[in-house]
């Protein structure tokens, strides 16, 4: 048994209409159907944050959202942050501060950091710790990540 539904949504500024399997998560849909593989699959139970995307301007764990639920909504993934081929200020700051080793957590970290800077222009260390507490970095680059977010906030 597999059921499909037609949905319309905006992804990274582009309107799309697609048929989706109702049994698929948004994470699976983004990676396997939209082929936007910047969004990573980690724990798939909402604990690691590797799959963080913005839905209607708010960060969510795409592993805990059904693909059908984005009907009529606006989706932003890590691929949508560049403008005219230029990385955004947070992406640049992550590079400048070497805020990763393997890079697997980076897209999720950057989406959470973006959401933080949208609600708090000048975050403290504690604000950053809180906002990124749902994003795990198994390489342990937390110090550099915090510095990158702080630097981005000042740009």
């Amino acid at each position: 048994m597999s059921e499909k539904m037609a949905i319309s949504f905006t992804v990274n500024g582009n309107r799309e209409t697609r048929e989706v399997e109702v049994g698929h998560t948004l994470l699976k849909f983004i990676r396997d159907e939209l082929h936007l593989t910047g969004t990573k699959s980690g724990c798939e139970i909402g604990e690691c944050g590797a799959c963080t995307v913005m839905l209607d301007g708010k960060p969510v764990n795409s592993c805990l959202v059904l693909a059908v639920e984005i009907d009529g909504k606006e989706l932003l993934t890590i691929e949508g942050l560049t403008e005219n081929g230029e990385l955004d200020r947070i992406q640049k700051a992550f590079i400048d501060h070497a805020a990763f080793q393997c890079g697997y957590c980076t897209p999720g970290m950057i989406m959470s950091a973006r959401a933080l800077l949208e609600r708090t222009a000048n975050p403290t260390d504690e604000d950053i710790n809180q906002a990124l507490s749902g994003n795990l970095c198994r390489c342990g680059a937390y110090q550099e990540i915090r510095e990158a977010v702080k630097a981005a906030s000042k740009k």
Binding site: E3, E21, G23, E44, V60, N61, V65, A115, S133, G134
Partner: protein, 276 residues
């Protein structure tokens, strides 16, 4: 891939009709427990009824009854709603400790209590605020005090065909302060090993504890000692919580550790709200 039918509900009647007539129907609000549970085999859903965009469940307002929190209101909305911060800070604190910021953009208060985990971080705060759960269904509406809502781990008083419509923080509000204290293995994201809510009402306190019994429970013995018997030794008062709780040993902590942490957090909570 999971196999189920998905229904985006147009109104509440459609939702509780499906819940009443069909089997293995699950309402979807935030989905943060539901989707994990489906994937892990805890919930065998045949039909998912999506209620999250129903306007009547999105209500978050203060009226002459108190503060009304619709079933689809997220925990981040609750933690930043001014009347809750002003009059029910203990609930804002509890809501703020659930999961991570992205989780709280989806997870709802109604989902947190309907999932009925003994460790639910909003349950103990709701208990010390005397919250009321507004339930609706094909047979009408009813109101259940939060203290009577939980039946056991994962079990609540909802009958087939019923949904939580909203939770009310009733007036009069407490005129003292409240606090939620949580012990967990990590600084955030983890479930509570022990969660304690303490609320001051005039010169009395109400205390509720999560993750130490089959349901979240009021620490009645502690309340009685402090409120009625005038116990000033708060270490002794908090130790009476042993009569109210029956923790188990699991991966988050041993039975003895939970007894100990419940006492410690209850004492600290009472000290804080009574400004000892």
């Amino acid at each position: 891939m999971l196999n189920y039918s998905y229904v985006k509900c147009k109104d509440l009647t459609q939702a509780y009709d499906l819940l009443e007539k069909e089997e293995q129907v699950y309402p979807l609000a935030g989905g943060t427990d539901l989707i994990v549970g489906m994937r892990g085999g805890k919930f065998a859903a045949k039909i998912i009824v999506d209620i999250k965009d129903l306007p009547e469940l999105k209500i978050l307002e203060e009226n002459d009854q108190g503060i009304v929190i619709g079933a689809a209101v997220t925990l981040n909305e609750i933690a930043t709603f001014k009347p809750i911060i002003d009059h029910a800070l203990v609930l804002a604190e509890g809501a703020h400790t659930v999961g991570s910021y992205p989780i709280r953009n989806r997870a709802t208060l109604a989902g947190n209590i309907c999932n009925a985990s003994p460790a639910a971080d909003t349950a103990a705060p709701l208990m010390v605020l005397n919250a009321q759960v507004k339930i609706t269904g094909s047979h009408g509406k009813r109101t259940v005090p939060i203290n009577e809502f939980f039946v056991g781990p994962g079990q609540n008083v909802l009958k087939k065909g019923e949904l939580v419509e909203s939770v009310l923080i009733p007036r009069p509000y407490p005129n003292g302060t409240g606090v939620y204290l949580k012990a967990s293995r990590t600084g955030s994201v983890d479930l509570a090993t022990v969660g304690v809510a303490v609320q001051s009402w005039d010169n009395k306190v109400q205390v509720a504890v999560g993750a130490v019994a089959a349901t979240p429970v009021r620490a009645i013995s502690v309340e009685k000692a402090v409120n009625e018997n005038g116990e000033k030794d708060l270490v002794r008062a908090a130790s009476l919580a042993r009569d109210d709780i029956s923790p188990i040993t699991d991966l988050r902590g041993s039975r003895e550790y939970r007894y100990h942490m419940a006492e410690v957090l209850i004492r600290r909570g009472i000290e804080k709200v009574m400004e000892v």
